[in-house]
Symmetry: C2
Subunit: 189 residues, 2 copies
């Protein structure tokens, strides 16, 4: 017997449903009605929790960001104390997250959320960015501007992930490992 919908967290169930559908069937299959059906509610139930499909996507993106942040924190923890090893570890974690869950990855990193309050996404994104900034802190900035190292590393690993997911590296020389591409970074004096 299904739990009556008023006795449970429908919002959380819809987000969980969206994550499952993204993982199993990809971005285009993640529709409002598919999420509602998977969560066991009517097609109009999401309207009470989200600002339409864009709102649901934003909520899923925020959750995805949180999961991503947990992933790269764990990778960094396992890498020990060497700053370069830690930075390489979060980059590898980034790539692994993208490969394991391409649909969620695109939702988290490549969609804009116009006309929707992005507070939750921005907050989750800020937490992920803080991890990156902390991990880059031991390195000298590029061109003497603060924040440049993390922008550089993030651009590099994100581009690497997107192009790979889209199959744009197919038929070209395989990109070198992240360690090689990061080799030019110098530690602070």
């Amino acid at each position: 017997m299904d739990t009556p919908s008023h006795r449970r967290d429908v919002r959380a169930d819809l987000i969980a449903a969206g994550l499952a559908i993204l993982d199993e069937r990809g971005f285009e299959a993640m529709t409002l009605r598919a999420c509602a059906a998977r969560a066991g509610v009517s097609h109009a139930a999401p309207a009470h929790h989200f600002e339409g499909l864009p709102g649901l996507r934003a909520a899923i993106a925020a959750e995805g960001f949180r999961r991503f942040t947990a992933t790269i924190l764990e990778e960094r923890r396992k890498a020990g104390e060497d700053p370069r090893a830690r930075l390489e570890a979060i980059c590898e974690g980034y790539l692994r997250f993208a490969r394991a869950q391409p649909g969620l990855f695109n939702l988290v990193f490549n969609l804009t959320f116009e006309h929707v309050s992005e507070g939750e996404v921005e907050e989750a994104g800020g937490a992920a960015y803080a991890v990156l900034a902390e991990t880059c802190a031991p390195f000298a900035p590029l061109g003497d501007s603060e924040g440049s190292t993390e922008a550089f590393v993030w651009s590099l690993v994100h581009g690497r992930a997107c192009l790979e997911l889209a199959g744009r590296f197919d038929g070209t020389a395989a990109p070198p490992p992240m360690a090689t591409m990061l080799a030019g970074l110098r530690l602070r004096a």
Copy 2:
């Protein structure tokens, strides 16, 4: 009086319609029916030229790649003969293309085209990649593997473009200029 549909190139008209809609109204507004209406044909006409919506998207992506290639060739030409200036010029052209036409940019670079023959997209993509590879040829490879420089540069500029378009740099330190991020590249001996 409209040109009868049998007297003109419906395929090309549909692609042009798709490009216009992407530019004016964005990715989600670019539907089969919107393209057909804009091209002045019935909603089922595209089925005779493309393998459904994915096929139309792939054809538009191929055309977008060609336009992109023309853009960066022209930027490189204008930059003169200095290898570093030329590389920076195509990276700036990349960013400008992305900012000017985000919908087309995402279609060209970030979508996969499963279940659709990608020959045209791959061919067009190969031409763009060849320009990048030529422009990187004067630089020493990273970690001694051929093809590494262009993979590095492409990852960097593509990530930079995607994160900016998605608004993920908002609230963070602005990324440094491409010239700064590419400064670590060394010319071949």
